[in-house]
């Protein structure tokens, strides 16, 4: 349908539309505003870390970075743990109960977080979870548990039942079977779900925006958003913030690319 030249042309143009802005942001994060406006595409005159020092120290993005690390490092494994426990039970239980538990947990995917924000805010207020990292961990768990159960439970249901039956005849309890059979066999699906959750939790903006009051409790996306008002056109500073906020995800993408594609696509196809 498309000749080879048209094909190459479209692909090349789109590649440029992706690469050029990213390069401009990378170069720009080392420039002054005047230097950026004078030549957005040129290499920076020096690799002076001035903008980075300013965002990390002066604007305290360093502590927001740590907050994001803490929240994500707890919420991703916690979500995986609860989801895999549920997925495992669903894969071993039979008939109506299996179906009912799975259905109940997965139905939550139909409730968009933004539709739930008022009552969740009220509930978190009553529980004293507003303005705390613990509250953000819990919010991440609540919002992604249904899809995590869908991905992991969907996978575990396809594991051959004989594996479980053999171990239960050997007298192994369900916990041992979970740890030594279900989890190792589900490793690829867990890795894909972990990446999917990592990207969502790391980039989460809505809950921090709703819950966090003190600047000391901000996560990266919220801290970045607050830049927007203060430094309307100080693009180099915004760019340094963008690079800092994206770095962990980008590094992970370079090394674990196939899990990214599998995880985010699994999330999409099942969401």
């Amino acid at each position: 349908m498309l000749s080879s030249i048209t094909r190459r042309g479209i692909l090349a143009i789109y590649a440029v539309i992706i690469i050029v802005p990213l390069t401009v942001v990378g170069f720009g994060s080392f420039k002054s505003t005047q230097e950026l406006f004078a030549g957005p595409f040129s290499l920076p005159q020096s690799l002076s870390p001035g903008n980075y020092a300013e965002v990390i120290g002066g604007q305290d993005l360093g502590s927001s970075f740590m907050n994001s690390v803490i929240v994500t490092a707890i919420s991703v494994p916690l979500t995986l743990f609860l989801a895999s426990l549920a997925g495992y039970a669903v894969s071993r239980l039979k008939g109506f109960m299996s179906w009912a538990i799975f259905g109940f947990l997965v139905l939550g995917m139909a409730i968009p977080a933004q539709a739930n924000m008022v009552p969740l805010y009220v509930l978190f207020g009553r529980l004293g979870l507003l303005d705390s990292l613990a509250g953000l961990v819990l919010a991440n768990l609540v919002s992604t548990l249904p899809i995590a159960v869908f991905i992991l439970g969907g996978f575990m249901r396809t594991l051959p039942k004989e594996l479980y039956e053999a171990s239960s005849i050997d007298g192994t309890g369900p916990w041992r079977t979970y740890v030594s059979i279900a989890l190792p066999l589900s490793a690829p699906s867990i890795a894909a779900a972990a990446i999917f959750l990592f990207v969502i939790h790391w980039n989460e903006l809505l809950y921090p925006l709703l819950f966090i009051q003190s600047p000391g409790n901000r996560t990266l996306p919220l801290a970045l958003l607050s830049f927007q008002g203060e430094f309307q056109t100080d693009y180099p500073l915004l760019f340094a913030g963008v690079i800092l906020a994206s770095l962990p995800v980008v590094v992970a993408y370079v090394f674990l690319q196939r899990y990214f594609v599998a995880g985010i696509t699994a999330g999409a196809s099942k969401g």
């Binding site: 349908m1 692909l11 992706i18 549920a86 109940f104 051959p160 906020a245």
Partner: protein
């Protein structure tokens, strides 16, 4: 005693199930279910019941009140909040119309564009694999980061878009982009497609690669041209992928909250206000009862549009 002590030795793509064929035709073992198994889903069920289901039900209750979120007393006002949203709140109807327009734009553009990218990159050559990784890349960035990148592209004075247009002598096409209220939503739609087309491309590639090559060979022998092949083989066969792409893109663009706040500021100006940002503003304005009612309309809109699309997609030809 089991013949399944060995694990599937082949390396599998992550997410794909191990062999289940061995399971076929075998009767379920009569072993009793260990009651301890019922403990395993308890934590997840408790979290969902307490923090998702209960609050959602409460939203319906709040929606019928004039509660401000703080005072102990509030009144039940019936469906007043819903009536107000549709008849007496131009900010809300504006956000609703913007959101529907945005969803329509993004769904059409993204579905079309991600299918084209997928068609161009179906073959597993080294170049294709590299480009797929590149096109997918923006998806992993945070919405706020993408918003900042595009704020600079769209900057009317110093931005990349106008610099490029000026550089190639197309000053006539220069624009103030987000500054132009009539165009702003379209430009954010462009950003949204740049952000997520690569993700949908991957969904399409999986669908395309599952089409048996023999079909194309047979069609070619019958003298079918490329367009005929697309129409009668490719399109019907990727119908399941299309419905995934359309459904996912719909929900994603209904929820473009982060991107809008990052690119337009908080609160966004009217021409860029969508439902989720409007709900947030109502909430921040301490009108909890009204914000809850808006949330319910929001959920209903997502459900309605998704249902309409399913109906529409069913009209398109399906594979056998």
């Amino acid at each position: 005693m089991s013949t399944h002590t060995g694990l599937p030795a082949k390396r599998k793509a992550p997410g794909s199930p191990p062999d289940v064929n061995a399971n076929k035709g075998r009767r379920r073992s009569p072993t009793r279910v260990n009651p301890a198994l019922y403990l395993f889903p308890l934590p997840a069920v408790a979290v969902i019941a307490f923090f998702l289901v209960m609050p959602t039900l409460q939203a319906f209750q709040y929606a019928l009140t004039d509660w401000n979120g703080f005072s102990a007393a509030f009144n039940y006002v019936g469906v007043d909040n819903f009536v107000r949203a549709f008849t007496n709140d131009s900010l809300f109807t504006n956000a609703l119309m913007n959101n529907l327009k945005f969803v329509l734009l993004v769904v059409i553009a993204q579905t079309f564009f991600s299918l084209i990218l997928a068609l161009l990159l179906t073959k597993n050559s080294r170049g294709s694999v590299l480009l797929r990784a590149l096109f997918f890349f923006p998806t992993i960035l945070s919405s706020v980061s993408v918003a900042f990148i595009w704020k600079f592209i769209y900057d009317p004075n110093f931005g990349l878009a106008n610099a490029v247009l000026g550089g190639v002598g197309l000053e006539a096409l220069q624009s103030s982009y987000l500054g132009n209220d009539a165009q702003a939503l379209y430009w954010v739609a462009v950003t949204q497609v740049w952000f997520h087309a690569g993700q949908m491309m991957v969904v399409y590639i999986a669908g395309l690669q599952a089409i048996p090559r023999e079909l194309y060979e047979a069609a070619e022998m019958d003298g079918a041209n490329k367009w005929q092949q697309f129409k009668s083989i490719t399109w019907p066969f990727v119908a399941p992928a299309t419905s995934i792409v359309v459904a996912y893109t719909t929900v994603q663009s209904f929820k473009a909250f982060d991107l809008i706040l990052g690119i337009a500021g908080n609160p966004p100006k009217q021409s860029l206000d969508i439902l989720s940002t409007r709900i947030y503003s109502t909430f921040a304005n301490s009108e909890f009862g009204y914000a809850a009612a808006q949330s319910i309309i929001f959920m209903a809109m997502i459900a309605l549009v998704t249902w309409l699309q399913r109906r529409l997609l069913r009209l398109t030809p399906k594979g056998e």
